[in-house]
Amino acid sequence: MGKFNKGGKKEMPELNTSSLPDLVFSILFFFMCITHMREETAKVLVNTPQATEVVKLENKSLVTTVLVGKPKDKKYGVESLIQFNDDFLDIENVVPKMTQQRQSMKEVDQPKMQVSMKIDRDTKMGVVTDLKTQLRKAQCLKISYSAKKQIRRVSK
């Protein structure tokens, strides 16, 4: 019959961790692939409003983002400013900049260009309306008011 070794203390076999680096590296590569570095640093404070009926903007390559808000650095004043690609944008320069941006896109994508306006919730509508007028002049007619998703509470 079998022997039962009661007295001998058995040690737990050590777990082989030699494949752990490979595992971690594969996760690392996954994140490296999906990461795209944020090119622009926000110079304005933007806290977008909440809305329940938001739709996701598909296809990031078609979307151009414009930020509107109060500048973080007080030396630029306290009035709301427009930021586009790392730089403040004067309202007169919206049309040439947007036209330039459109020309840098693929030709098939140009009519599908979409402008996402990330606007701070405390902004006055005057700035927004001016920006919208300029966008119309620049033929950027597809716009999106960027907002955070919120669950709609059911009334009644």
Partner: protein, 201 residues
């Protein structure tokens, strides 16, 4: 001297996991997976001649005004944002307080123009295609309030479209549930006509 053949000592690789972890955590932090969301709109084309106006019958317009104090006015009455969705729905359907004498004139047939609508809703379909919701804001209106109002209006359309899809096709108004033609038919039935007039100075 007799030389021993020595094996090259293997490099201790137990720390490479830690190294990889550090890199991993770095990329985890800098990765932004956020997708942009928002209320999408199609702006009207810019024309140099801004005098060019479109004649719309007064009864087909729902005026929504937001002033600099963020007060809301809907069709000559002060209103709450919470009631706006219901009011807009009633207006589009020409029901409730907006029924009056509008009825058949307001809701006009567009059957011959749209073959998809004929297919799904019959030849003598009448849809509220002529309505316009005119949203006017002031220079001093806050953007938060403006988005709230916009959101309520979009909600009104979404609810109407959803109700129609449920009653017609028995499915919610959703791209995954309905076919492309069905989606388009419902969109044509309740077209989103929101006019964002320029701010008043």
């Amino acid at each position: 001297m007799a030389r021993k053949k020595r094996k090259a000592p293997s490099i201790n690789s137990s720390s490479s996991a830690d190294l990889a972890f550090t890199l991993l955590i770095f990329f985890l932090v800098v990765t932004s997976m956020d997708t942009d969301e928002g209320l999408t709109r199609l702006l009207p084309r810019w024309t140099d001649n801004q005098e060019q106006t479109q004649e719309i019958k007064k009864r087909n317009i729902l005026n929504v005004l937001v002033n600099a104090n963020n007060d809301l006015m809907v069709a000559d009455d002060i209103a709450n944002v919470e009631d706006l969705c219901e009011k807009a729905k009633n207006f589009i359907k020409a029901e409730g307080e907006y029924a009056g004498d509008r009825g058949p004139e307001y809701i006009q047939a567009k059957a011959e123009k749209n073959p998809e609508l004929v297919q799904y809703f019959g030849a003598d379909v009448k849809t509220p295609k002529n309505h316009v919701i005119s949203l006017q804001s002031d220079y001093g209106t806050s953007y938060e309030m403006y988005i709230k109002v916009q959101n309520e209006l979009v909600a009104a359309y979404n609810q109407l479209r959803n109700e129609l899809a449920q009653s017609k096709f028995g499915k919610p108004y959703d791209e995954e549930e309905l076919s492309k033609e069905q989606m388009q038919a419902i969109k044509d039935y309740y077209p989103m006509n929101i006019s964002e007039a320029n701010a008043k100075y």
